[in-house]
Structure formats: C-alpha cells, structure tokens
Amino acid sequence: MNIDHPAFRAVIVAIFAFILAPIVVVIAASVSTTNYVSFPPSGFTLRWFVELVTIQIYVDALQYSFVVAVITTLISLAVGTWVALLLRSTQKGRALLQTLFLSPILLPEIALGIGLLQYFSMIGFVRGMIATILAHSIICTPYVIRSVAAVATRLKVSLEESALVLGARPLRVLRDVTIPLLKPGLIGGAVMAFLISFDNVTISMFLAAPGAITLPALLFNQAAESGLNTSLAAISALLVFFTIAVIVLMSWLVGLDKFFAATASSK
C-alpha cells in the first residue's frame, strides 16, 4: 500500500474532514445572524460572542470550570508524578500497579459517574466542587502517569545516585535533578489533565450542583432543554479556540513531537 497514492490521500483527507466537520459547523454557525443555529450561516455577526459576557450563568460556569481544572491539574500532577516514579523503581508488582492506576481510562465515564455519585453520597459527601475535582482527578491522573512515566523511564538512575553521593538528601535530589529532567513529561501531563478536566461533560454533569456546574455540562444541559441557539454555538466555538490555543502554547513550550511521544507510548 503506497502512501503517496492519490486514492490513499483522498481517504485520509476524507477522514480528517469527517472528524473536523462538526467543529467547522459550530464555528460557522456561531457567526450567523439568526438566533437559532443554522448552517450554512445567514449573515455574519459577532454579537453572540459579545453578549456572552453578559450571560451570568456562562461567566460563572467558565470561572468554575477553570478553577476545577486548575486544582485537578495540580492534584493529578502530584499524584501522577509520584506514581510514575514509584513505577520506575518497582520491579515485582509493576504490571499490577500500572493496571490499577491506569484503569480509570478504561472505564466508561457514565459508569464512573454513577458509581462516584453513589459512593460520595454513601460517605456523606455532597455534590459540587470538591466532588467534581476529585472525580476529575481520578480520570486525569492516568494521563499524567503515562506522560511522566515515558520520560521517567529514560531518566538514568545514575543521575540521581550521583546527586546522592555528592551529598544531596532524597528530597533535594528530587528538586535539583528529577523534577527538572521530568519537565517535558510534567508539562505534557499537565496540559492533558487540564484539557480533559476542562472539556469534561459526563462526570461533571453527574456531580454538578446548583451554581456549581462546569461550562461544558451547562452547555449540554441548555442544549437539551432549550434547543440549539447561537449563543451556545458561540461559546462552543470559544472553547474550541481555547483548546487550540493551549495546545499551540504547549507545543511551543515543549514541542509537539515530544508531547505525543510521551502520551502515545505506554509501558
């Protein structure tokens, strides 16, 4: 099978078009002058974007999403890095440990959402920000683990041993040697964690409480209740732009090839 064959290329283009089509539709629809979503859009206006600022629930939800995502990222980074380093130094139980910590990825989010909802209410935990952050952390940590572990396995132990022998205590070694050298993995993992948390719908919906709902969950609810209006399209378009911006930033900081190498390989 020749990759340069025009038929093959045509197939690839078609696949990409299929994947990207919904995004294009949403962005196009967001500039329509009509109140309801129409594609192709009639007219061009940016008023829906401007008006977004005035819609309080959107602003609140955006803020909430952001806070949740940031805290989730921090927790996932801390736990994920610790687990990745633990995996590096374990020989015997490694496969088991790996499966255990990466398992949240394998579970369907609905199942996880329902389970967590039940579990939290069983232990008297109320829905809302803390519950959402915890749930997000559970699904985001595996990505951090994979991202950091990919870099950690290439980190020679002799580097840390050198620091030890030169007089640095273990925490100092972590600070001076391990963490700086894990940076690409940490950044890649942080970005993955942030985006997964920020864009998450299912679990966020299960654990939302009045006034404490993430933006994607809110949009989904609104779409279900009142149908698709252009404001929804506008904010969706904004989310797309934001995600693209984050990825561009990260590729500039770390290099896209490194990022995908880090997350694609699983040990």
Binding site: S162, L164, L166
Partner: protein, 379 residues
C-alpha cells in the same frame, strides 16, 4: 586453602587500613552477587576490582558507596563501621560508568553541585571549580553543557566533580570503558597522575586487565562474587594462584605437568618430556600427581628444531601483530602452546618444527589439578 592464606597475608600486611570489608555478602534475588568478601585498602592506595561481568565487582563498589546495603558483614572506614550511613553522608567521590553528568546544568554547576550542597560561599565555589577544571585539564569549559563535550571531556568533568569536594575515598566504575583506545591510554596516564598527586585512596572497577595493571597498586581479581587473588599487578600476572586468574590476566599457556619428585620448596616436573625444577610453596601436590602449570607467551623460548633443551612442537599458526608476532605450536599429543616472538626474526610457516623451551622461573603451578587437557583461550 591457597586463597585465604593469600588474603590473611594481605589483611595483616596493611598496618592501619583505611577501608576494610569483613565478610561482606549481598544477594539479589536468589543469587549471591558478593560472597563473603574480605578486603583491606590502605590509605592513598589505588586498588582495582578486576573481573568479568557478573563477578560482583560493581555490586561491591555500590556497597562501599552506600548505594546498596549488604546482607551481612561489615564495612569499616577509618576505624568506624559505615554500613548504616547513607550515601549522602559518606563523603566519598564516585564516577559512574556513564559519567552521569547533570544534562540540565553547565559544567561549572555540575562540578560545583557538591559544594553548593555543602553551602560553600559562591566565591569559593567558583575558585574551587576553576581549580578542579585545571587539575583535569579543562580550564575554560565552565559554561559548556555536557552534551557539548566529547566523551573524554565528559569523563574528566565527572572526575573533577568527584574530587572537588575533597572526598576521603574515590570510587570509579569502569572509568575508561567508553573511550576509544588512544584516548584510553592517555587517560590512563592522566588518571594515575591525578590519583598519585592527590594521594587519594581509590577503588576502581574494571573488566580490562590492562587498565587494572596500569592504574593500580594492587589488583583484586574477582569471579562469581569471590576474590580469587589479591596482589600487586606483577604478583597477580606472574604468579597467578589459579587458572581463572592466569587466564583472565593476559594470555596464558596451561600445560599438564607430572610431578617426578618433591622436595621442600621445590618440585621436579616433567612437561612434554622436558624436565625442570620449579620453586613453589604449594603443599597440596604429591609425587606422581599431574598439575597444571601456567607460563606466559612472552616467557616461552623458541629454538631451532632438534635443540635438546626444549621439547618438540610444530607450528600451527603465525600472526604478525606489528611489534611482535604470535606463534601457535602444537605438540604431537595435541598440547597447544602460544609464544610471542620478535617480529623481526624470521617468520615461521605452518608445519615447521621447533624446540619449545620452558624454564622453572617462568612457570607457575596452579592451585587446581587437572587430568585432562585444559582448554586454552586467547583473551
């Protein structure tokens, strides 16, 4: 046993050893990596741990550095037991096989790392780093990063980093392994000079017997977790205590010898019909036994065919090696003997007959007895 006699001799020969290992043992999984090792290192001496991979030499080095804990035994340094002391508190310098330079730090920061940990003032760190760089011949390289340096330069930075903190003991793991031959020889000379100049007690791990002999005051030959022999390079090379040591250090011919007579301190041997004396302290051999003797190729004399002072052998190989030639002979009963001969003398052809001469001074009786022809391998 010959080996422990040797060791006890060595132990008591060092009046106040700087480092002592007593019955040190370490297993990984079910295997004994280090098996009841006893060793003494004098202050200022350079000792090599020499052996094939898997013999336990690196494990032993790591035990001394504190990067691993012994299962049994004691490690005593300067009179104090250091087994429980963490690697960051032992004050030793270590150069790893892969140099382990911090890739995200400049040469200056790498070398100054140990000093920074010890909270030396910046000005002093700067001057100490500059001094260390001068000692290894890399002045001016402060701001380079490790990936910008050649292998030899990296190795020297690693060395500078290890010695700048003025450690009491220097541990080197295959320090010259990654360098090419010419560079290695130069570095051997430099390393020896630095070690001598600083008077630093040094333990060096290597599988390269030439390196061990060039750099160290004493060599400890290891195999399978045990020390087979410790001695000066000359001792270990010329008087190997068993066939492992004989074969590991340089090429060796191992021949069967029949003991014709035994006197105190002396044996009369018969090798291929040639009879000669050999002085030896070995107690185990008896008249009538067959023992293995080892003789180095450079000590074998080759004379013209028919010369009565040697035994008959035929040429089976001749290799010109530049500064010398290696000739391989075989006797009528299949014993193979290798000899180094001058490359300026006439080349030999296959099938030529010669007379191979051995003398008692050049031979060593080895600790094991064999009944069959020992295999001989060129290193």
């Amino acid at each position: 046993m010959l080996m422990s006699e040797n060791q006890t001799q060595m132990l008591s020969a060092i009046p106040r050893p700087y480092l002592e290992l007593r019955s040190v043992t370490k297993s990984y999984g079910g295997t004994l990596a280090v098996n009841d090792i006893n060793l003494s290192v004098a202050e200022g001496e350079c000792l090599s741990l020499l052996g094939p991979s898997g013999c336990g030499k690196t494990t032993l080095l790591r035990l001394i550095a504190g990067l691993a804990e012994a299962d049994a035994g004691d490690i005593i340094c300067g009179g104090k037991r250091i087994d429980g002391i963490k690697p960051y508190a032992r004050g030793f310098g270590v150069v790893f096989q892969d140099y382990a330079l911090f890739p995200h730090m400049t040469v200056a920061k790498n070398i100054g790392y140990g000093l920074k940990i010890r909270k030396y003032p910046t000005a002093q760190i700067q001057s100490d780093v500059a001094n260390a760089l001068a000692k290894v011949g890399l002045t001016g390289m402060e701001d380079r990063y490790p990936h910008q340096l050649s292998g030899g330069q990296q190795q020297r930075v690693a060395l500078a980093r290890a010695i700048v903190t003025e450690p009491t003991l220097l541990l080197l793991d295959e320090p010259l392994g990654a360098l090419d031959k010419n560079l290695r020889e130069d570095m051997q000379v430099e390393l020896r000079a630095i070690q001598r100049r600083l008077g630093l007690t040094t333990i060096l791990v290597t599988h390269d017997q030439e390196e061990a002999m060039t750099l160290s005051d004493r060599v400890a030959v290891m195999s399978r977790g045990r020390i087979e022999q410790i001695g000066t390079p000359r001792d270990v090379y010329q008087r190997p205590s068993n066939s492992f040591v004989a074969k590991f250090l340089g090429t060796s011919n191992l021949l069967n010898a029949k003991i014709l007579a035994k006197e105190t301190g002396n044996l009369i041997l018969d090798v291929q019909g040639l009879q000669f004396h050999i002085a030896t302290e070995s107690e185990f051999a008896q008249q009538g036994d067959t023992v293995t003797v080892s003789i180095r190729p450079e000590s074998v004399k080759v004379a013209a065919a028919g010369d009565p002072r040697g035994f008959r052998a035929y040429v089976v190989g001749y290799l010109f090696q530049g500064h010398r030639a290696l000739a391989v002979f075989r006797t009528s009963d299949g014993a193979e003997i290798r000899a180094f001969i001058s490359s300026t003398s006439q080349a030999l052809s296959e099938g030529d007959e010669v007379s191979v001469q051995l003398t008692g001074e050049a031979c060593v009786v080895l600790a094991e007895t064999t009944s069959d022809m020992p295999e001989q391998k060129m290193r």
